[in-house]
């Protein structure tokens, strides 16, 4: 049951991503991306990673996509400026991806590698648990991320300024 749900959601995600790179109109591409991102959120939900699920919807499918669409509208592209999608290239890409996937499956079957995966602890991915981990085990990465974000903000201001 879980596996069926996973394959359906995964198919939607891949389909959305595929549409995104094949659409000629950037706006249609952006909306296809939303489909893919929401499907991804579904996979997070299946993994019981509540916090990531909410963040995926709010931040990626919500805030970031609004920014993307905003940018596309600001660019104000006309019909004749759009490039034809390179159909041949996309076909090749799809075939290559299928081949790679097939090779991986064959190697996996032939090598007989262990299929068991490590178990996750109880409450894994809940808001409470993630918050707790962030300020205990992952204190150091948490502090470093704050510096990374600061650098990103300073960098953007610096590069966007009128005069140096």
């Amino acid at each position: 049951m879980e596996a069926v749900a996973f394959y359906i959601i995964a198919a939607i995600a891949v389909f959305g991503a595929l549409l995104m790179i094949t659409r000629r109109n950037p706006l249609a591409g952006a909306f296809s991306l939303v489909v893919s991102l929401i499907a991804l959120a579904g996979i997070y939900a299946m993994l019981r990673a509540e916090l990531i699920f909410i963040l995926q919807i709010l931040v990626y499918a919500g805030a970031i996509m609004v920014l993307v669409i905003f940018t596309i509208m600001l660019l104000n592209l006309r019909e004749e400026e759009l490039e034809e999608p390179p159909a041949g290239k996309i076909k090749t890409l799809i075939i290559l991806a299928a081949v790679a996937f097939g090779c991986y499956g064959i190697i996996k079957v032939l090598s007989g590698a262990p299929d068991e995966v490590p178990r996750v602890p109880e409450n894994f991915g809940s808001v409470e648990k993630v918050g707790e981990l962030m300020l205990t085990s992952y204190l150091y990465p948490f502090e470093i991320i704050s510096v990374v974000l600061l650098v990103a903000i300073v960098g953007v201001v610096l590069l966007a300024k009128k005069v140096i």
Binding site: Y104, I107, K108, S111, A113, P114, V117, P118, V120, E132, L133, L135, T136, S137, Y138, L139, Y140, P141, I144, I145, V147, V148, L150, V151, A152, V154, G155, L158, L159, K161, I164
Partner: protein
Amino acid sequence: MISPPPVNTEILNLLAPLLVLVGAGLLFLMFGAFRNRVGTFQRALIVILYAAVLFYVGKLWNAEGWPILNGMLIIDRFSLFFTAVVTICALGSVLTSANYLDRFGLDRSEYFALLFFATSGMVVLVSAYNLISLFLGLELMSLSVYVLVGYRRRDFFANEAALKYFLLGAFAIAFFLYGVSMIYGLTGTTNFKGIMVEATSRGIARDPLFLLAVALILAGFAFKISSVPFHMWVPDVYQGAPTPITSLMATAVKAASFAAFLRLFYMCFMMGSSKWSGIIAVLAVLTMTLGNIVALVQRNIKRMMAYSSIAHAGYILIGLASLSIESTRAASSILYYLLAYSFMTIGAFALISAVEKREGTRGLDIAEYAGLGLKKPFLGLAMAVFMFSLAGIPPTAGFFGKYYIFSAAVEGGHVGLAIIGVLNSALSLYYYLRVLVVMYMQKGVEPLDVHDDLGVKVVLLVSLFAILWLGFGPERLLPGVESILEWTRVSVAKIASLGM
């Protein structure tokens, strides 16, 4: 309920180099709020702060190196060695920056704040003991450097360089992260030690997914160390960036990435299989051969140095390909090589930045160095030593670096690699010596206009001294060659013993 990791004075002591760097970055952001230009006082302060980092490295050198803060990072001799290397490189970049920024009208305190943040990112990177902290170190370093590359905003080449570096860098980091996520899926941990234990105990190392993950991580690192086939960005980015930042990218960024690369592969992915050795050996051969051959035809000195830095990454990859658990020789030779390479490259770029001009021909063509050797004897001599050292001519540090790497390769059974390395160094002689020929034997047409202020002179003098000292410095006053080699050995000894 898990209790937070204890943060006591002992741990704060261990974190001192990092805290000084981050604090310095914040301080210089604050300066920027009050005053645009960077005065003599601030410049002195930058040098003092970097010196403080070196002081702490010296103080911590004998500390027990155990993973701290829940195994997120480790302050051992290996990380301290590389902290010192990147600090020296950053200091070299700062000292050449002062005059350069003045001339190009770019003198702002954010520049130095970002330099501090980039250095702290490198310190996070070299002391990482967990894939998460490794990734964050990589990001902190890269983000700061992306901005610094595009710092000359009015310049077309700088814009091109920053955009190229940012997009390709983001792409490479995505490869790396994809690999990391697979490793986490397979082993359930991101801790180096945990990965090592899991990979050896449950036969995960044979899983094709594991191989794919390591290959993706390898691709991420190969981008950062500018190895073929991920080298396309190097010449354009090195050319477009402000010269002191090019110097930082060719030395500190490369050294820090190599350090993380070495620790991760030595600890986690090298065990008992020569698969990765073979792949890295192929990369090494391609990297040095392509770097050297394309460097032969370069007219622009920054582009020539870019290809030369690709070639040097190739030599260092020989060392990585010869890594073995039984002997630390290959690993310690990499440390020595990076130290030696950093000094000669910092020196060469300091000189390039002094000759560079804002207008007209820009002073970057090798032909514009005509007559420099005789008109400015000290600069000429310094450049000659840097070029000899880069080409690997005795008795300079460059020669000994190559000697140690090649002999480690021979010891590890990679005789073919060593031979290709030697042939490549012979090839590189042509383009390094061409600079000297132009400098000494051709008459300059235009009057030379060299801006060698105190900072540049100090960098030249120190690098010149270090290159000769690393070659045959005796044990007096300063630690001589023997101690430096001993440092490189003890730095890697612990990683090798953990990797068993």
